[in-house]
């Protein structure tokens, strides 16, 4: 019984996400749109199954929620910090720098999330990944102390992602 359910519902989280997103797209949820959302949520994961062969298992949902909140907060702070640098710092006083961040994360999905987070947060931008995916190349808008930036990325984001993905 569970095996049949697994065949028909290969990705239950994606099903739930699709149903919710469809309600948002419709903008005024009705029983009708709920039914169609459910239909999409059942069909799309089934059809797209071959596209995600080794997807990582997320177990720790409270940690995922905590991570999303931390990142959202950091995005607001990032905007204010970058705005301050743009408006009030002369170009000559700024210290743009490249930083190499060695990665402990292994899964491509986790590295993608980390790279996206780095781009959205204070004064940093992920520019490239090394040939085998063992380090990230980050550009800093204003980093007098590059080691501190690297340590903050590792302790604030990477350690949390490690707990979520591994």
């Amino acid at each position: 019984m569970t095996r049949i359910a697994k065949r028909l519902l290969p990705h239950p989280h994606l099903t739930i996400l699709l149903v919710i997103v469809w309600q948002f797209l419709v903008n005024r949820p009705t029983p009708n749109s709920l039914l169609f959302g459910l239909f999409l949520g059942l069909v799309i994961p089934f059809i797209t199954q071959p596209f995600w062969p080794n997807r990582p298992k997320l177990r720790n949902w409270p940690k995922v929620a905590a991570y999303v909140l931390v990142v959202l907060w950091d995005i607001v702070i990032a905007n204010i910090i970058v705005a301050r640098i743009i408006l009030f710092k002369r170009n000559a006083d700024r210290h743009p720098a490249w930083i190499t961040v060695p990665l402990e994360l292994k899964q491509p999905e986790a590295i993608t999330v980390l790279a996206g987070t780095i781009t959205m947060t204070p004064g940093t931008l992920s520019a490239d990944v090394s040939a085998e995916g063992h380090s990230l190349l980050i550009h800093c808008l204003d980093a007098p102390d590059t080691d501190a930036v690297r340590d903050e990325i590792k302790s604030r984001y990477e350690s949390r992602l490690k707990e979520i993905f591994e």
């Binding site: 995005i75 996206g116 781009t119 090394s130």
Partner: protein
Amino acid sequence: METLLELLVVIFLVTAGIFGFVGSFGLLKLNDRMSRLHAPTKATTLGVGGVLLASMAHSVLTEGHLSLHELLITLFLFLTAPITAHFIAKVNIHQFETRDSLPDAGEDEIWATHDIEEGPTDAETSKN
């Protein structure tokens, strides 16, 4: 209640305007290519976010129901902004950075953008 909502809409719109302006101003003011990329990826997020929040508050105010499209736009924006930035950064590395001008790539020794076989030059490809 209505005045409060109107005030909220105004506050969101003004904040959004300021951050949108700062993002565009940064494009002009910052003086190297990679730094210029910071301005649109960051300051604009709050700029667009503010407009969307104002739009949600406005739909509650005038139509009496909560519009949810804005949340989706925010979600898609957060997903796509880093990817566009990444593409632009890669183009910049392709065109202006060499293997020596970038910092050490750690144990892999080379960054992915430079990890390509030497293909035919532009002149050769245009001949074909």
